[in-house]
């Protein structure tokens, strides 16, 4: 996950629930990602937190009676950090090379009760449907060159797969809503 630009957004959103230690953040991300989270290294969280502090998006406090090391500090969002979390949650850019970002967005939104994950899925589905509609209209046009149509067919197939996954997301988060699932609980 080295160099993944959205890690900053995910870390910020995970802090939205409450001020947290770095190691706690790391274990929450690993839990949310399952087997895909194995590759994440501990240092990366602290590098990210350091950058976020420099940018004024988080502050940290030293825990009392313990040596001052990054993993002993408790991190919290600044108002600017909170604002950035809100903007990230409502952004509907698609597709991204990695589905983990959207997945973690839903996890973070549910954990901190920042937004309804099902509503985020709805917004994403609108965006994907809009793209599918444009690609399909182009693909249905008989005057399109068959080789160019091949690319459109690929786009249509991928968007349909995305929609199927969003349906699975919707089912899961609707169910979680019903049963009161909580991140890290």
């Amino acid at each position: 996950m080295k160099g993944v630009p959205w890690v900053q957004d995910v870390v910020l959103a995970m802090l939205a629930k409450e001020p947290t230690h770095g190691y706690e953040l790391r274990s929450r991300m690993r839990d949310a990602l399952g087997p895909l989270g194995e590759a994440m290294n501990a240092g990366q969280i602290y590098v990210t937190l350091g950058r976020l502090a420099k940018a004024g998006l988080v502050t940290s406090e030293r825990a009392e009676g313990l040596p001052d090391r990054p993993d002993r500090r408790v991190y919290a969002l600044t108002p600017a950090g909170q604002q950035r979390v809100g903007a990230w949650l409502t952004e509907v850019s698609w597709p991204k090379p990695d589905l983990s970002e959207f997945h973690l967005k839903l996890v973070a939104a549910a954990a901190a009760r920042l937004a309804d994950p099902v509503a985020l899925v709805d917004a994403q589905r609108r965006e994907v449907l809009r793209r599918l509609r444009d690609a399909q209209r182009a693909a249905l046009d008989r005057s399109v060159d068959p080789v160019a149509a091949l690319l459109l067919e690929g786009v249509v197939l991928r968007l349909r797969a995305d929609l199927e996954w969003l349906e699975a997301c919707e089912r899961m988060w609707t169910e979680c809503d019903r049963t009161g699932w909580k991140a890290g609980a």
Binding site: D122, R130, L132, D134, Q136, L140, R160, T174
Partner: protein, 241 residues
């Protein structure tokens, strides 16, 4: 009620069973479909979308709420008047085609016009024109059993258009079709949409939904999301070509 609203529902409800067995197939739904709109209702099987379509088309009666078709309130209308209104204003397309096996393609298409009292000659001319429009001019005298699934559905679409309906109601129109036949049907619905035909399609197939201008997500009998699909090109819903 404005003249340009083809379908309107208020508090539309359809329940089955009672007590612990009560199912709210359609649960207090409000809907307006303006003339020329292509609407898709999406949802998993069992979410109530087929029941909704049947209520809107007057094939089933609601247990609560009101529904208007072409300005006429149909939930309280007599069976006879409703049958006439349906014949004059609605074209149905079903997943299982529902063609008459004993009749040829052209006879299936002209049947509704003949029942409505049109002259046989005029009905035949229009039926042949419609079959040509769906790309089946050379299959006019074939029985449904001699046609592929995709061809049968295209005959059914031609039949749905025979009474020049104000609205075409389609229930999983691609549900029984392979992907090549699905493309033919998608192309036809796309042509209908471009021509300004009012369409209501219920489906779990995203490709059919992507033909629409507006998509409603239905869950447990209610509308969970209702969105206009504005094209990325920003040229508006008639501006693709």
């Amino acid at each position: 009620m404005t003249g340009s609203t083809i379908l309107r529902a208020r508090g539309l409800t359809r329940r089955y069973g009672w007590d612990s067995g009560l199912v709210r197939a359609v649960d207090d739904v409000d809907l307006d479909v303006p003339a020329g709109q292509a609407l898709a209702v999406m949802g998993p099987s069992g979410c109530g979308k087929s029941t909704l379509l049947h209520l809107l088309g007057g094939l089933q009666r609601p247990t609560g709420g009101q529904v208007w078709l072409a300005g006429h309130r149909i939930d309280t209308m007599s069976e006879r008047a409703l049958a006439r209104l349906r014949r004059d204003t609605v074209g149905f397309v079903f997943q299982a085609f529902h063609l008459m096996d004993e009749l040829t393609a052209v006879e299936n298409v002209e049947l509704a016009a003949l029942l409505a009292g049109q002259s046989p000659r005029r009905a035949r001319r229009r039926a042949l024109h419609l079959l040509d429009r769906v790309g089946l001019a050379d299959r006019a005298t074939h029985l449904p059993s001699a046609l592929s699934g995709g061809q049968r559905q295209r005959v059914a679409i031609a039949r749905a258009l025979s009474n020049e309906p104000l609205v075409v109601l389609a229930d999983e129109p691609t549900g029984n079709l392979d992907s090549a036949a699905t493309l033919d049907v998608l192309r036809l619905f796309e042509e209908l949409r471009t021509a300004g035909q009012t369409l209501v399609m219920v489906t779990h197939d995203a490709r059919i939904a992507a033909v629409a201008d507006r998509v409603i997500a239905m869950r447990d009998g209610a509308f969970a999301d209702d969105s206009q699909l504005v094209s990325a090109t920003g040229t508006g819903h008639r501006g693709w070509r």
